[in-house]
Symmetry: none
Subunit: 188 residues, 4 copies
DNA sequence: TATGAATGAGGCTTCATTCAT
DNA sequence: CATGAATGAAGCCTCATTCAT
């Protein structure tokens, strides 16, 4: 009898926790409703299929991620492109660290219909725009903006993953390390 | 009554083809034995479980990959570190393009027990050694060799994936693009 | 959507009939659900495994058995121990004859985790108490009450089994035969 | 290349050990040949089916059992029937204790075609003869020799089982306990 | 809205047995 | 005599989904 959104949120959170803990395949709808504390029928009131939750989770993750980064970027002065990039990097790393487990499960474990996901495209576009602007303003030059954006984004992922595995999940230290690397790419 | 290796290879190849075409979950052991042209019992004579084939495929992929890159590197002059890196890049890109579909399925679609796979560690170590040597010889300097290796490797993956999706899977063109990027990182 | 107990009972009864007719191993879960007239999933809705039904059957058998004998004993005068024993014997033989087929299948055919089953212990305790009381009251003397209880109980089983095989399953005749035997044990 | 009997014996012993340890159903032919240290084909050289080993084991057990008891009886003076029974009891208890695990598995766990096994019939016949002779000689009287034989035999089984479970597997003590009981049956 | 009993297709796996070498 | 690769029928169990209440 709670508002629908609460129910939906309970279910999605339960699903996310289980997906992270046991993997998507190993998580049954039964598990989800049990953890969420609702009947099985309730699940199918709000989601047409199990896959639906994954998609919903994916969207929620992307929305959160993009919003976080956008919020960070909003506060950076439009003319200092170098600072802008640093802000982007910081925001991205923090947003990723905060939810990398869900990211893994929801974006990797679930078979993509196509190799490139819509979600990744958004964030790449975001970064590409930033890089292109900087290039136009002469802050740096880049032979291929898209390739640079992808390399930076995926490179960031890899380094953060490695830091996490190494037990060093401090965003500040990671960003510093990455800045030294990416600043080399962003030259005139 | 063929030699065991032939059967194993038949089964692994059949499995790989199906995994690529339909995904791991959608591929049944029945599918595999049917394509391999053997009885179902034969599958379980050589693999304890369905998961086992995935693991075997992963290992085979890694071994092949590492060998190909190592073979390429073997032919490059020890003192020209820049050329060496180019060789590594070329070998890696080619090896990846040749098998990226299997790579995807076997490394992404199947849940890793730990986040960092032994397999990735090997190739990162290979590249790290190359980068460290170049640094020692003064060909370039790097604040963090491992971070650079990871960023380069994962960046390469992303860019190649993007190129493949864009329908531009030519190793040469991709390498050129990547060289321009990575050469910026490898500076004194 | 019948009450759970009805379904459980249907399944247990179907299982019992089939176990008796074909043996446990030869009876498949498919057979059971078919005879019970429910879907296969329903079986696993109520029992975790096939073994579970056997255990449930065992418990049901024991409960019924103990209750029947206890009911018989309840009506016997507390001071006539000899009559009490006769009542016990009669009740036990009848209860056993009524269900020996299920008893066989469920207690013999299925591997016990331990050699002595909790179930047998209960009935031995019941008889031991009866024998001990008679001994205390001087109706008879016994050097080892437990050993006597076991010998009487197992001896009864053997003789009843033999009578059944010989096609002579009349409880009255069997009890008379057994009384002559056991009365010799129950002497002062 | 060993004499056939050795092979057969190795296989039967391996099977017996595994049947006792894991149960008949849980023991595979693979397990047996592995423990016996021979190839799987060898098993089927000597036994037509898995069931065959069980039957062979049963026969071996019965032969051993009967022989042991017969050997014990051979040494007892023909005219002292009471001593003869004591000898029988002692021999039976010892033979049973020595192999009760195998007995359990091979006679209980494996579904009898009929409720009374040929093997049990032999030992009951042996005891019945002994009891009948004693009765004829006036050493005791019995209203129903067969019923007494069965009750004594099965009663013995139960008491020995109980002693084993209680961790008291000493044949002497058990026999004494049983003698006190059975002597009450064997009266004039 | 909410529930949970009921379903059944279909997956994975086992294992006794055969037979070419 | 001995082997062990090969088989395939058959079993147990899972689980997403439906629907009557």
């Amino acid at each position: 009898m709670l508002p629908a959104e609460v129910r939906i949120d309970d279910l999605m959170t339960a699903a996310a926790d289980l997906f992270i803990a046991k993997g998507i395949e190993a998580t049954t709808v039964n598990d989800i409703v049990e953890l969420a504390g609702v009947g099985k029928g309730t699940f199918y009131h709000y989601f047409a299929t199990k896959e639906d939750v994954i998609l919903a989770l994916r969207e929620r993750f992307s929305r959160d991620f993009t919003n976080k980064v956008a919020a960070a970027l909003a506060e950076c002065p439009g003319d200092d492109h170098r600072a802008c990039f640093a802000t982007w990097l910081r925001g991205t790393v923090e947003a990723y660290i905060a939810n990398y487990e869900l990211h893994d499960v929801v974006f990797h474990e679930f078979r993509h219909s196509s190799r490139n996901s819509k979600e990744k495209e958004i964030v790449i576009a975001q970064l590409s725009a930033l890089l292109a602007e900087g290039a136009k303003a002469g802050a740096w030059s880049l032979p291929d903006v898209r390739a640079a954006a992808i390399a930076i984004y995926d490179g960031m992922h890899g380094v953060v993953d490695d830091a996490i595995v190494a037990g060093n999940g401090d965003a500040g230290a990671i960003c510093e390390k990455l800045s030294l690397l990416f600043d080399r790419i962003l030259i005139a």
